[in-house]
């Protein structure tokens, strides 16, 4: 039994022989014809379903660097009016009613804090609390003694976050009575 490969020049007429070899040839004939039919059907299908028309638009997209910072909570007043029970000194007061919010899509940013009062009679300290996870790292508590910028939150990278601002005020008896006014400014800036 000798098999013969059907070539492109072979006739597509079915062979008449009924021997084993002829049967293989018959199978090859059917396969070839089926393939041709499939190709024809697929071509027609492509013709039916691939019809269409296209057009294009060109878009320019851009996101600028932006840094936003804000406060929830207005002006606040800290009044030292109690004595520490054991120390017989004025007891410090704490206010944690202000929330600081920030958003930055930049990298290596930090938030600084400064007071405009560099000659205050009483001590005023500030520290971040309850930081949003992953939005930055709290810096150590700042005690205002000048009007320079001090790190408040560092390591701000492409994030939006918030924290509670804890203000603490303290006084010595020797400082007597009186009042201080501070304008406290928070700034988001490059590290």
């Amino acid at each position: 039994m000798k098999l013969r490969r059907i070539t492109g020049t072979d006739s597509l007429q079915p062979p008449n022989e009924t021997t084993g070899g002829a049967m293989k040839t018959q199978i090859l004939y059917i396969a070839r014809k089926t393939t041709k039919t499939l190709v024809a059907v697929l071509t027609m299908a492509a013709g039916l379903y691939a019809q269409g028309s296209s057009t294009q638009q060109s878009l320019i997209l851009r996101v600028m660097e932006l840094n936003k910072i804000g406060l929830i909570g207005g002006s606040l007043k800290l009044t030292i009016d109690k004595l520490h029970a054991e120390l017989f000194a004025p007891a410090p007061v704490v206010n944690a009613n202000t929330t600081l919010l920030w958003t930055s899509n930049g990298e290596n940013k930090k938030i600084t804090v400064a007071s405009n009062n560099n000659n205050s009679r009483y001590a005023l300290r500030v520290a971040p609390q309850e930081m949003s996870p992953g939005a930055g790292v709290a810096a150590p508590e700042v005690s205002f003694s000048d009007n320079k910028n001090h790190d408040f939150i560092v390591g701000v990278n492409r994030s939006a976050g918030k924290c509670v601002i804890k203000f603490s005020a303290a006084a010595d008896v020797a400082k007597g009575i009186g009042s201080d006014t501070h304008v406290v400014t928070f700034t988001i800036t490059s590290s």
């Binding site: 028309s53 296209s54 320019i60 997209l61 851009r62 932006l66 936003k68 920030w102 994030s159 939006a160």
Partner: protein, 166 residues
């Protein structure tokens, strides 16, 4: 004599009738009319640059920007099942979102569709069941938004392909 005249007159009338009959002739032509399937789509140009410039403190999602300055027009005679798809040349990075809204008076708008990840192999339907006919000057609205956590994006050119197909 009178009979002869009548006979002569009838003979002349017959000749006239036969002559008229042989003067009539006709010709025919077969005229084949074909209207092929027609799909046409065009846009009025390119939208303006979309630049995110602001946001809200404490919020990761920055303020989105939109553009509805361009329109599209279509004509098709295929049928009432034609649809309009849209895709980008390449997907946007995570954290950036491009949405598309195509108005339509002859089809059903899919509303606002996110095409940020729609590429040539995964085009999004933006209008479906478009009826046969023409629909001109329909508004294209893009909305681009970004997260702060995605960072900045330098000026990036994207190509949107609209395809009218069955």
């Amino acid at each position: 004599m009178k009979k002869s005249l009548v006979t002569l007159a009838l003979a002349g009338l017959s000749i006239l009738i036969v002559g008229n009959a042989f003067a009539q002739t006709s010709a025919t032509q077969n005229v084949t009319l074909t209207v092929n399937t027609v799909y046409k789509i065009s846009t009025s140009g390119n939208p303006s640059s979309m630049i995110v410039t602001t946001g809200t403190a404490g919020t990761d999602a920055l303020s989105s920007v939109s553009d509805n300055s361009t329109t599209y027009s279509i004509t098709q005679n295929f049928g009432n099942t034609v649809k309009l798809t849209a895709n980008l040349d390449a997907a946007l990075s995570a954290g950036y979102v491009l949405q598309l809204n195509m108005a339509s008076s002859r089809g059903t708008s899919a509303g606002t569709v996110d095409i940020s990840n729609a590429t040539s192999g995964s085009a999004e339907n933006v209008v479906t069941a478009v009826n046969r006919g023409a629909d001109a000057g329909q508004m294209i609205t893009y909305t681009f938004s970004a997260l702060a956590s995605a960072g900045m994006l330098s000026s990036t050119n994207k190509t949107v392909t609209f395809t009218l197909t069955n």
